[in-house]
Symmetry: C2
Subunit: 237 residues, 2 copies
DNA sequence: CGACACCTTGAATGCGCTCAAGAGGCGTGG
DNA sequence: CCACGCCTCTTGAGCGCATTCAAGGTGTCG
Protein backbone atom coordinates (compact mmCIF):
# COMPACT_ATOMS: atom_id res chain seq x y z
CA UNK A 1 0.00 0.00 0.00
CA UNK A 2 2.99 2.31 0.57
CA UNK A 3 4.18 4.49 -2.28
CA UNK A 4 6.59 2.52 -4.33
CA UNK A 5 10.15 3.22 -3.33
CA UNK A 6 12.10 1.59 -6.05
CA UNK A 7 15.66 0.41 -5.88
CA UNK A 8 17.22 -0.75 -9.08
CA UNK A 9 20.48 -1.90 -10.44
CA UNK A 10 21.46 -1.88 -14.10
CA UNK A 11 20.76 -5.33 -15.34
CA UNK A 12 24.14 -6.94 -14.84
CA UNK A 13 22.82 -10.46 -15.12
CA UNK A 14 22.23 -11.88 -18.53
CA UNK A 15 18.94 -13.36 -19.64
CA UNK A 16 20.77 -16.65 -20.10
CA UNK A 17 20.98 -17.09 -16.37
CA UNK A 18 17.44 -15.91 -15.73
CA UNK A 19 15.50 -18.26 -13.49
CA UNK A 20 12.23 -17.71 -15.32
CA UNK A 21 13.57 -17.81 -18.84
CA UNK A 22 11.61 -20.90 -19.78
CA UNK A 23 8.32 -20.09 -18.10
CA UNK A 24 8.01 -16.42 -19.04
CA UNK A 25 7.28 -14.59 -22.28
CA UNK A 26 10.95 -14.90 -23.03
CA UNK A 27 10.63 -18.58 -23.80
CA UNK A 28 9.63 -17.46 -27.29
CA UNK A 29 13.08 -15.97 -27.91
CA UNK A 30 16.13 -17.77 -29.20
CA UNK A 31 19.66 -17.23 -27.90
CA UNK A 32 20.48 -14.45 -30.40
CA UNK A 33 17.28 -12.57 -29.64
CA UNK A 34 17.83 -12.94 -25.93
CA UNK A 35 21.17 -11.15 -26.21
CA UNK A 36 19.45 -8.16 -27.80
CA UNK A 37 16.52 -8.43 -25.47
CA UNK A 38 18.54 -8.25 -22.31
CA UNK A 39 19.37 -4.60 -22.92
CA UNK A 40 15.70 -3.70 -22.76
CA UNK A 41 14.91 -5.03 -19.33
CA UNK A 42 16.12 -3.87 -15.99
CA UNK A 43 15.76 -5.55 -12.70
CA UNK A 44 13.71 -3.69 -10.12
CA UNK A 45 13.28 -4.72 -6.53
CA UNK A 46 10.27 -4.05 -4.29
CA UNK A 47 9.93 -4.50 -0.56
CA UNK A 48 6.92 -6.03 1.21
CA UNK A 49 3.69 -4.14 0.53
CA UNK A 50 5.29 -1.72 -1.90
CA UNK A 51 3.17 -0.76 -4.86
CA UNK A 52 4.46 -1.83 -8.25
CA UNK A 53 1.77 0.05 -10.15
CA UNK A 54 -1.70 1.40 -9.51
CA UNK A 55 -4.94 1.17 -11.40
CA UNK A 56 -5.42 4.14 -13.69
CA UNK A 57 -1.71 4.85 -13.72
CA UNK A 58 -0.34 5.34 -17.19
CA UNK A 59 1.30 2.07 -18.09
CA UNK A 60 4.80 2.98 -19.21
CA UNK A 61 6.28 -0.45 -18.92
CA UNK A 62 5.63 -4.16 -18.93
CA UNK A 63 7.11 -6.39 -16.35
CA UNK A 64 8.04 -9.95 -15.83
CA UNK A 65 7.87 -11.23 -12.29
CA UNK A 66 11.26 -12.70 -11.41
CA UNK A 67 10.81 -13.53 -7.78
CA UNK A 68 8.18 -13.24 -5.05
CA UNK A 69 4.41 -12.96 -5.08
CA UNK A 70 2.25 -9.98 -5.96
CA UNK A 71 -1.42 -9.28 -5.38
CA UNK A 72 -3.35 -7.82 -8.29
CA UNK A 73 -6.51 -6.03 -7.26
CA UNK A 74 -9.20 -3.54 -8.05
CA UNK A 75 -10.83 -1.20 -5.56
CA UNK A 76 -14.36 0.16 -5.45
CA UNK A 77 -14.72 3.85 -4.59
CA UNK A 78 -15.71 2.98 -1.02
CA UNK A 79 -12.63 0.86 -0.47
CA UNK A 80 -14.00 -2.63 -1.05
CA UNK A 81 -11.26 -4.65 -2.66
CA UNK A 82 -11.34 -7.56 -5.07
CA UNK A 83 -8.09 -9.37 -5.69
CA UNK A 84 -8.22 -10.47 -9.31
CA UNK A 85 -5.16 -12.64 -9.11
CA UNK A 86 -1.81 -13.38 -7.56
CA UNK A 87 1.25 -13.00 -9.75
CA UNK A 88 4.11 -15.45 -9.49
CA UNK A 89 7.54 -15.66 -11.13
CA UNK A 90 7.10 -15.97 -14.88
CA UNK A 91 3.93 -13.90 -15.02
CA UNK A 92 3.83 -11.01 -17.41
CA UNK A 93 2.08 -7.81 -16.36
CA UNK A 94 1.18 -4.55 -18.02
CA UNK A 95 -0.94 -5.60 -20.99
CA UNK A 96 -3.80 -3.22 -21.62
CA UNK A 97 -5.43 -1.34 -24.42
CA UNK A 98 -6.32 1.93 -22.76
CA UNK A 99 -2.70 2.81 -22.03
CA UNK A 100 -3.54 2.62 -18.35
CA UNK A 101 -3.28 -0.24 -15.93
CA UNK A 102 -6.65 -1.72 -15.20
CA UNK A 103 -5.71 -3.04 -11.79
CA UNK A 104 -3.22 -2.30 -9.04
CA UNK A 105 -0.33 -4.51 -8.12
CA UNK A 106 1.73 -4.68 -5.01
CA UNK A 107 4.37 -6.90 -3.57
CA UNK A 108 3.34 -9.35 -0.88
CA UNK A 109 6.82 -10.24 0.33
CA UNK A 110 9.97 -9.06 -1.40
CA UNK A 111 9.54 -9.02 -5.14
CA UNK A 112 11.90 -8.69 -8.06
CA UNK A 113 10.64 -7.83 -11.52
CA UNK A 114 12.21 -7.32 -14.91
CA UNK A 115 10.84 -4.09 -16.36
CA UNK A 116 10.63 -3.20 -20.03
CA UNK A 117 9.86 0.28 -21.29
CA UNK A 118 6.70 -0.04 -23.31
CA UNK A 119 8.03 1.83 -26.34
CA UNK A 120 11.24 -0.17 -26.66
CA UNK A 121 9.41 -3.42 -26.06
CA UNK A 122 6.85 -2.44 -28.68
CA UNK A 123 9.60 -1.84 -31.21
CA UNK A 124 11.29 -5.11 -30.35
CA UNK A 125 8.11 -7.06 -30.81
CA UNK A 126 7.28 -5.35 -34.12
CA UNK A 127 9.04 -7.85 -36.35
CA UNK A 128 8.90 -10.80 -34.01
CA UNK A 129 5.48 -12.33 -34.35
CA UNK A 130 6.53 -15.42 -32.40
CA UNK A 131 6.94 -13.19 -29.34
CA UNK A 132 3.54 -11.66 -29.98
CA UNK A 133 2.09 -15.13 -30.24
CA UNK A 134 3.64 -16.01 -26.91
CA UNK A 135 2.11 -12.90 -25.33
CA UNK A 136 -1.23 -13.83 -26.80
CA UNK A 137 -0.90 -17.27 -25.32
CA UNK A 138 -0.31 -15.80 -21.88
CA UNK A 139 -3.28 -13.47 -22.27
CA UNK A 140 -5.54 -16.36 -23.21
CA UNK A 141 -4.30 -18.42 -20.31
CA UNK A 142 -5.15 -15.57 -17.97
CA UNK A 143 -8.55 -15.27 -19.56
CA UNK A 144 -9.18 -18.93 -18.90
CA UNK A 145 -8.16 -18.48 -15.28
CA UNK A 146 -10.33 -15.39 -15.01
CA UNK A 147 -13.40 -17.31 -16.17
CA UNK A 148 -12.68 -20.10 -13.73
CA UNK A 149 -12.46 -17.49 -11.03
CA UNK A 150 -15.82 -16.01 -12.05
CA UNK A 151 -17.45 -19.38 -11.44
CA UNK A 152 -15.84 -19.51 -8.05
CA UNK A 153 -16.95 -16.00 -7.10
CA UNK A 154 -20.46 -16.30 -8.44
CA UNK A 155 -21.48 -19.85 -7.72
CA UNK A 156 -19.46 -21.46 -4.98
CA UNK A 157 -20.01 -21.61 -1.23
CA UNK A 158 -17.40 -20.40 1.24
CA UNK A 159 -16.07 -23.89 1.88
CA UNK A 160 -15.89 -24.67 -1.83
CA UNK A 161 -14.09 -21.39 -2.43
CA UNK A 162 -11.44 -22.06 0.18
CA UNK A 163 -10.90 -25.68 -0.87
CA UNK A 164 -10.69 -24.66 -4.53
CA UNK A 165 -8.25 -21.91 -3.71
CA UNK A 166 -5.93 -24.18 -1.74
CA UNK A 167 -5.88 -26.80 -4.46
CA UNK A 168 -5.33 -24.38 -7.31
CA UNK A 169 -2.68 -22.48 -5.40
CA UNK A 170 -0.86 -25.73 -4.73
CA UNK A 171 -1.15 -26.49 -8.43
CA UNK A 172 0.34 -23.14 -9.41
CA UNK A 173 3.31 -23.66 -7.14
CA UNK A 174 4.29 -26.98 -8.70
CA UNK A 175 6.39 -25.46 -11.49
CA UNK A 176 8.23 -23.39 -8.88
CA UNK A 177 8.69 -25.76 -5.95
CA UNK A 178 7.73 -29.15 -7.28
CA UNK A 179 4.67 -31.07 -6.13
CA UNK A 180 4.08 -31.00 -2.40
CA UNK A 181 1.25 -31.22 0.10
CA UNK A 182 2.84 -28.46 2.10
CA UNK A 183 1.36 -25.31 0.64
CA UNK A 184 2.97 -22.00 1.60
CA UNK A 185 0.52 -19.10 1.79
CA UNK A 186 2.55 -15.90 1.65
CA UNK A 187 -0.59 -13.77 1.43
CA UNK A 188 -2.59 -12.72 4.48
CA UNK A 189 -6.05 -14.02 5.41
CA UNK A 190 -7.42 -10.67 4.29
CA UNK A 191 -5.83 -11.17 0.88
CA UNK A 192 -7.38 -14.62 0.62
CA UNK A 193 -10.75 -13.19 1.63
CA UNK A 194 -10.54 -10.45 -0.99
CA UNK A 195 -9.52 -13.02 -3.58
CA UNK A 196 -12.44 -15.31 -2.76
CA UNK A 197 -15.11 -12.64 -2.28
CA UNK A 198 -15.44 -13.44 1.43
CA UNK A 199 -14.64 -11.73 4.72
CA UNK A 200 -11.53 -12.46 6.71
CA UNK A 201 -13.63 -14.04 9.48
CA UNK A 202 -15.27 -16.47 7.10
CA UNK A 203 -11.90 -17.49 5.66
CA UNK A 204 -10.51 -18.02 9.12
CA UNK A 205 -13.51 -20.05 10.25
CA UNK A 206 -13.37 -22.16 7.10
CA UNK A 207 -9.67 -22.89 7.59
CA UNK A 208 -10.43 -23.96 11.12
CA UNK A 209 -13.28 -26.15 9.98
CA UNK A 210 -11.12 -27.83 7.34
CA UNK A 211 -8.52 -28.47 10.00
CA UNK A 212 -11.09 -29.90 12.46
CA UNK A 213 -12.30 -32.17 9.66
CA UNK A 214 -8.77 -33.42 9.08
CA UNK A 215 -8.54 -32.07 5.54
CA UNK A 216 -5.68 -29.67 6.23
CA UNK A 217 -3.34 -28.74 8.98
CA UNK A 218 -2.72 -25.06 9.55
CA UNK A 219 0.99 -24.45 9.86
CA UNK A 220 3.04 -21.33 10.14
CA UNK A 221 2.98 -19.48 6.83
CA UNK A 222 0.72 -21.92 5.08
CA UNK A 223 -1.13 -25.19 5.33
CA UNK A 224 -0.42 -28.83 4.94
CA UNK A 225 -2.84 -30.74 2.80
CA UNK A 226 -3.63 -33.89 4.77
CA UNK A 227 -6.44 -35.27 2.63
CA UNK A 228 -6.19 -34.06 -0.97
CA UNK A 229 -8.98 -36.33 -2.13
CA UNK A 230 -11.46 -34.93 0.36
CA UNK A 231 -10.32 -31.42 -0.50
CA UNK A 232 -11.09 -32.10 -4.16
CA UNK A 233 -14.52 -33.35 -3.17
CA UNK A 234 -15.20 -30.25 -1.10
CA UNK A 235 -14.04 -28.05 -3.97
CA UNK A 236 -16.92 -29.47 -6.04
CA UNK A 237 -14.59 -29.95 -9.01
CA UNK B 1 -29.56 -26.31 -24.71
CA UNK B 2 -30.72 -28.40 -27.66
CA UNK B 3 -28.12 -30.16 -29.77
CA UNK B 4 -26.93 -27.79 -32.39
CA UNK B 5 -28.71 -28.34 -35.66
CA UNK B 6 -26.74 -26.27 -38.05
CA UNK B 7 -27.92 -24.89 -41.33
CA UNK B 8 -25.34 -23.25 -43.49
CA UNK B 9 -24.95 -21.71 -46.83
CA UNK B 10 -21.65 -21.24 -48.66
CA UNK B 11 -20.66 -17.72 -47.96
CA UNK B 12 -22.12 -15.92 -50.94
CA UNK B 13 -21.84 -12.53 -49.36
CA UNK B 14 -18.52 -10.82 -49.54
CA UNK B 15 -16.70 -9.49 -46.48
CA UNK B 16 -17.01 -6.03 -48.01
CA UNK B 17 -20.68 -5.96 -47.20
CA UNK B 18 -20.25 -7.48 -43.76
CA UNK B 19 -22.04 -5.54 -41.08
CA UNK B 20 -19.38 -6.14 -38.47
CA UNK B 21 -16.35 -5.60 -40.66
CA UNK B 22 -15.19 -2.58 -38.72
CA UNK B 23 -15.86 -3.82 -35.22
CA UNK B 24 -14.57 -7.38 -35.52
CA UNK B 25 -11.14 -8.94 -35.84
CA UNK B 26 -11.43 -8.27 -39.53
CA UNK B 27 -10.88 -4.56 -39.06
CA UNK B 28 -7.19 -5.40 -39.11
CA UNK B 29 -7.39 -6.55 -42.73
CA UNK B 30 -7.08 -4.38 -45.82
CA UNK B 31 -9.24 -4.77 -48.92
CA UNK B 32 -6.87 -7.20 -50.66
CA UNK B 33 -6.58 -9.39 -47.60
CA UNK B 34 -10.33 -9.37 -47.09
CA UNK B 35 -10.81 -10.87 -50.54
CA UNK B 36 -8.60 -13.81 -49.63
CA UNK B 37 -10.05 -14.00 -46.18
CA UNK B 38 -13.63 -14.35 -47.32
CA UNK B 39 -12.99 -17.84 -48.66
CA UNK B 40 -12.10 -19.03 -45.17
CA UNK B 41 -15.28 -18.11 -43.42
CA UNK B 42 -18.71 -19.52 -43.80
CA UNK B 43 -21.92 -18.21 -42.43
CA UNK B 44 -23.72 -20.48 -39.98
CA UNK B 45 -27.13 -19.85 -38.51
CA UNK B 46 -28.40 -20.97 -35.11
CA UNK B 47 -31.93 -20.94 -33.77
CA UNK B 48 -32.93 -19.84 -30.27
CA UNK B 49 -31.26 -21.89 -27.50
CA UNK B 50 -29.19 -23.92 -29.93
CA UNK B 51 -25.69 -24.74 -28.79
CA UNK B 52 -22.87 -23.23 -30.80
CA UNK B 53 -20.17 -25.11 -28.89
CA UNK B 54 -19.76 -26.79 -25.54
CA UNK B 55 -17.10 -26.63 -22.90
CA UNK B 56 -14.52 -29.36 -23.35
CA UNK B 57 -15.44 -29.80 -27.00
CA UNK B 58 -12.42 -29.83 -29.25
CA UNK B 59 -12.26 -26.36 -30.73
CA UNK B 60 -12.05 -26.88 -34.47
CA UNK B 61 -12.99 -23.36 -35.47
CA UNK B 62 -13.09 -19.76 -34.47
CA UNK B 63 -16.15 -17.70 -34.98
CA UNK B 64 -17.17 -14.12 -35.37
CA UNK B 65 -20.61 -13.25 -34.15
CA UNK B 66 -22.50 -11.60 -37.02
CA UNK B 67 -25.94 -11.18 -35.57
CA UNK B 68 -27.81 -11.96 -32.37
CA UNK B 69 -26.76 -12.52 -28.78
CA UNK B 70 -25.10 -15.55 -27.23
CA UNK B 71 -24.61 -16.59 -23.63
CA UNK B 72 -21.20 -17.90 -22.69
CA UNK B 73 -21.19 -20.03 -19.56
CA UNK B 74 -19.52 -22.63 -17.43
CA UNK B 75 -21.27 -25.33 -15.46
CA UNK B 76 -20.32 -26.96 -12.18
CA UNK B 77 -20.77 -30.73 -11.99
CA UNK B 78 -24.00 -30.32 -10.01
CA UNK B 79 -25.51 -28.03 -12.62
CA UNK B 80 -24.87 -24.62 -11.12
CA UNK B 81 -24.22 -22.23 -13.95
CA UNK B 82 -22.11 -19.12 -14.20
CA UNK B 83 -22.53 -17.01 -17.30
CA UNK B 84 -19.10 -15.55 -17.99
CA UNK B 85 -20.29 -13.18 -20.69
CA UNK B 86 -22.74 -12.35 -23.41
CA UNK B 87 -21.43 -12.25 -26.95
CA UNK B 88 -22.64 -9.62 -29.39
CA UNK B 89 -22.00 -8.98 -33.07
CA UNK B 90 -18.31 -8.33 -33.62
CA UNK B 91 -17.17 -10.61 -30.81
CA UNK B 92 -14.61 -13.25 -31.62
CA UNK B 93 -14.90 -16.66 -30.00
CA UNK B 94 -12.80 -19.78 -29.91
CA UNK B 95 -9.47 -18.60 -28.55
CA UNK B 96 -7.90 -21.14 -26.20
CA UNK B 97 -4.63 -22.85 -25.56
CA UNK B 98 -5.73 -26.33 -24.61
CA UNK B 99 -7.35 -26.98 -27.99
CA UNK B 100 -10.68 -27.26 -26.20
CA UNK B 101 -13.27 -24.64 -25.52
CA UNK B 102 -13.19 -23.50 -21.94
CA UNK B 103 -16.82 -22.46 -21.83
CA UNK B 104 -20.08 -23.29 -23.57
CA UNK B 105 -21.91 -20.96 -25.88
CA UNK B 106 -25.47 -20.95 -27.04
CA UNK B 107 -27.73 -18.68 -28.97
CA UNK B 108 -30.24 -16.60 -27.03
CA UNK B 109 -32.41 -15.60 -29.96
CA UNK B 110 -31.48 -16.35 -33.55
CA UNK B 111 -27.79 -16.02 -34.12
CA UNK B 112 -25.57 -15.88 -37.17
CA UNK B 113 -21.86 -16.47 -36.96
CA UNK B 114 -18.98 -16.51 -39.40
CA UNK B 115 -16.96 -19.66 -38.80
CA UNK B 116 -13.31 -20.21 -39.64
CA UNK B 117 -11.63 -23.58 -39.59
CA UNK B 118 -8.85 -23.30 -37.06
CA UNK B 119 -6.18 -24.74 -39.31
CA UNK B 120 -6.88 -22.48 -42.28
CA UNK B 121 -7.21 -19.46 -40.02
CA UNK B 122 -3.93 -20.36 -38.35
CA UNK B 123 -2.19 -20.50 -41.72
CA UNK B 124 -3.70 -17.20 -42.77
CA UNK B 125 -2.56 -15.48 -39.63
CA UNK B 126 0.95 -16.90 -39.87
CA UNK B 127 2.45 -14.07 -41.91
CA UNK B 128 0.02 -11.36 -40.85
CA UNK B 129 1.15 -10.08 -37.48
CA UNK B 130 -1.29 -7.15 -37.65
CA UNK B 131 -4.15 -9.64 -37.48
CA UNK B 132 -2.48 -11.36 -34.55
CA UNK B 133 -2.12 -8.00 -32.88
CA UNK B 134 -5.81 -7.37 -33.39
CA UNK B 135 -6.68 -10.71 -31.83
CA UNK B 136 -4.44 -9.91 -28.93
CA UNK B 137 -6.22 -6.61 -28.51
CA UNK B 138 -9.57 -8.38 -28.33
CA UNK B 139 -8.22 -10.89 -25.82
CA UNK B 140 -6.91 -8.11 -23.60
CA UNK B 141 -10.21 -6.26 -23.82
CA UNK B 142 -12.01 -9.39 -22.69
CA UNK B 143 -9.53 -9.79 -19.88
CA UNK B 144 -10.29 -6.27 -18.72
CA UNK B 145 -14.00 -7.00 -18.79
CA UNK B 146 -13.45 -10.26 -16.95
CA UNK B 147 -11.65 -8.47 -14.12
CA UNK B 148 -14.40 -5.90 -13.90
CA UNK B 149 -16.85 -8.77 -13.66
CA UNK B 150 -14.86 -10.38 -10.86
CA UNK B 151 -15.26 -7.23 -8.79
CA UNK B 152 -18.97 -7.33 -9.44
CA UNK B 153 -19.30 -10.97 -8.49
CA UNK B 154 -17.10 -10.82 -5.43
CA UNK B 155 -17.77 -7.45 -3.91
CA UNK B 156 -21.08 -5.95 -4.98
CA UNK B 157 -24.54 -6.24 -3.45
CA UNK B 158 -27.52 -7.50 -5.41
CA UNK B 159 -28.77 -4.00 -6.17
CA UNK B 160 -25.32 -2.83 -7.24
CA UNK B 161 -24.98 -5.88 -9.45
CA UNK B 162 -28.24 -5.27 -11.26
CA UNK B 163 -27.65 -1.54 -11.68
CA UNK B 164 -24.13 -2.16 -12.93
CA UNK B 165 -25.36 -4.78 -15.34
CA UNK B 166 -28.06 -2.54 -16.83
CA UNK B 167 -25.65 0.34 -17.31
CA UNK B 168 -22.88 -1.72 -18.82
CA UNK B 169 -25.28 -3.60 -21.07
CA UNK B 170 -26.66 -0.30 -22.31
CA UNK B 171 -23.09 0.81 -22.91
CA UNK B 172 -22.28 -2.30 -24.92
CA UNK B 173 -25.30 -1.77 -27.14
CA UNK B 174 -24.31 1.75 -28.15
CA UNK B 175 -22.07 0.68 -31.05
CA UNK B 176 -24.93 -1.47 -32.33
CA UNK B 177 -28.05 0.62 -31.78
CA UNK B 178 -26.77 4.03 -30.86
CA UNK B 179 -27.22 5.59 -27.43
CA UNK B 180 -30.62 5.10 -25.88
CA UNK B 181 -32.28 4.84 -22.50
CA UNK B 182 -34.42 2.01 -23.79
CA UNK B 183 -32.38 -1.07 -23.07
CA UNK B 184 -33.48 -4.32 -24.70
CA UNK B 185 -32.78 -7.42 -22.62
CA UNK B 186 -32.94 -10.42 -24.93
CA UNK B 187 -31.72 -12.76 -22.20
CA UNK B 188 -34.03 -14.27 -19.58
CA UNK B 189 -34.10 -13.35 -15.92
CA UNK B 190 -32.41 -16.67 -15.23
CA UNK B 191 -29.60 -15.70 -17.58
CA UNK B 192 -29.19 -12.37 -15.81
CA UNK B 193 -29.16 -14.16 -12.45
CA UNK B 194 -26.48 -16.59 -13.63
CA UNK B 195 -24.46 -13.71 -15.00
CA UNK B 196 -24.63 -11.76 -11.74
CA UNK B 197 -24.19 -14.66 -9.35
CA UNK B 198 -27.73 -14.28 -7.97
CA UNK B 199 -30.98 -16.25 -8.08
CA UNK B 200 -33.78 -15.47 -10.47
CA UNK B 201 -35.98 -14.35 -7.58
CA UNK B 202 -33.44 -11.83 -6.35
CA UNK B 203 -33.03 -10.42 -9.85
CA UNK B 204 -36.78 -10.11 -10.23
CA UNK B 205 -37.19 -8.46 -6.85
CA UNK B 206 -34.39 -6.03 -7.57
CA UNK B 207 -35.90 -5.05 -10.92
CA UNK B 208 -39.19 -4.41 -9.15
CA UNK B 209 -37.48 -2.34 -6.48
CA UNK B 210 -35.65 -0.24 -9.07
CA UNK B 211 -38.95 0.34 -10.81
CA UNK B 212 -40.72 1.29 -7.56
CA UNK B 213 -37.88 3.73 -6.90
CA UNK B 214 -38.37 5.32 -10.29
CA UNK B 215 -34.94 4.34 -11.58
CA UNK B 216 -36.18 2.13 -14.39
CA UNK B 217 -39.40 1.10 -16.02
CA UNK B 218 -39.83 -2.56 -16.86
CA UNK B 219 -41.06 -2.89 -20.41
CA UNK B 220 -41.67 -5.86 -22.62
CA UNK B 221 -38.32 -7.35 -23.63
CA UNK B 222 -36.24 -4.93 -21.66
CA UNK B 223 -36.21 -1.88 -19.46
CA UNK B 224 -36.30 1.84 -19.87
CA UNK B 225 -33.73 3.76 -17.90
CA UNK B 226 -35.64 6.62 -16.31
CA UNK B 227 -32.94 7.98 -14.03
CA UNK B 228 -29.46 7.15 -15.35
CA UNK B 229 -27.77 9.32 -12.73
CA UNK B 230 -29.38 7.46 -9.87
CA UNK B 231 -28.61 4.16 -11.54
CA UNK B 232 -24.94 5.15 -11.69
CA UNK B 233 -25.05 6.03 -8.01
CA UNK B 234 -26.64 2.68 -7.15
CA UNK B 235 -24.02 0.89 -9.24
CA UNK B 236 -21.36 2.28 -6.88
CA UNK B 237 -19.19 2.82 -9.95
C1' DC C 1 7.66 -6.09 28.30
C1' DG C 2 4.39 -3.58 25.73
C1' DA C 3 2.54 -2.29 21.24
C1' DC C 4 0.90 -3.72 17.17
C1' DA C 5 -0.58 -6.60 13.46
C1' DC C 6 -2.71 -10.64 12.31
C1' DC C 7 -5.59 -14.34 13.22
C1' DT C 8 -9.31 -16.78 15.63
C1' DT C 9 -13.63 -17.27 17.92
C1' DG C 10 -18.32 -16.03 19.49
C1' DA C 11 -22.93 -13.95 19.14
C1' DA C 12 -26.31 -11.63 16.61
C1' DT C 13 -27.90 -9.67 12.36
C1' DG C 14 -29.39 -9.49 7.70
C1' DC C 15 -29.00 -10.22 2.73
C1' DG C 16 -29.94 -13.21 -0.54
C1' DC C 17 -31.62 -17.99 -0.91
C1' DT C 18 -35.18 -21.66 -0.78
C1' DC C 19 -39.65 -23.08 -1.09
C1' DA C 20 -44.15 -22.13 -2.59
C1' DA C 21 -47.82 -19.94 -4.85
C1' DG C 22 -49.75 -16.70 -7.99
C1' DA C 23 -49.78 -13.57 -12.14
C1' DG C 24 -49.00 -12.67 -16.87
C1' DG C 25 -47.96 -13.67 -21.73
C1' DC C 26 -48.22 -16.58 -25.73
C1' DG C 27 -49.20 -20.26 -28.81
C1' DT C 28 -52.23 -24.15 -29.81
C1' DG C 29 -56.37 -26.22 -30.64
C1' DG C 30 -61.22 -26.67 -30.11
C1' DC D 1 -63.20 -16.39 -30.23
C1' DC D 2 -62.02 -18.37 -25.80
C1' DA D 3 -59.99 -22.32 -23.14
C1' DC D 4 -56.09 -24.49 -21.96
C1' DG D 5 -51.38 -25.54 -21.03
C1' DC D 6 -46.89 -24.02 -20.71
C1' DC D 7 -43.37 -21.08 -19.57
C1' DT D 8 -41.48 -16.98 -17.59
C1' DC D 9 -41.69 -13.69 -14.26
C1' DT D 10 -43.26 -11.87 -9.83
C1' DT D 11 -44.33 -11.95 -5.04
C1' DG D 12 -44.48 -13.74 -0.29
C1' DA D 13 -42.77 -16.14 3.87
C1' DG D 14 -39.22 -18.21 6.34
C1' DC D 15 -34.61 -19.81 6.59
C1' DG D 16 -29.61 -20.13 6.57
C1' DC D 17 -25.06 -18.81 5.24
C1' DA D 18 -21.96 -15.40 5.36
C1' DT D 19 -21.55 -10.98 7.36
C1' DT D 20 -21.08 -7.60 11.08
C1' DC D 21 -19.74 -6.41 15.48
C1' DA D 22 -17.01 -7.46 19.32
C1' DA D 23 -13.62 -9.67 22.04
C1' DG D 24 -9.77 -12.53 22.84
C1' DG D 25 -5.52 -14.98 21.40
C1' DT D 26 -0.91 -15.32 19.27
C1' DG D 27 3.37 -13.94 17.35
C1' DT D 28 6.80 -10.41 16.31
C1' DC D 29 9.64 -6.64 16.95
C1' DG D 30 11.02 -2.60 18.98
Amino acid sequence: MKPSVVTFEPNGNSCRDCSIRESSVCSALDAAELRQFEHLGRRVQFGPCETVFSEEDIATSYCNVLDGVMRLYKLLPDGRRQIVGFALPGDFLGMNISGRHNFSADAIGSVAVCQFAKAAFGRFIEDRPHLLRRINELAIRELTQAREHMVLLGRRSAEEKVATFLLSWRERLIPLNGPSNTVPLPMSRQDIADYLGLTIETVSRTFTKLERDGVIEIIHGGISLLDPARAEALAAA
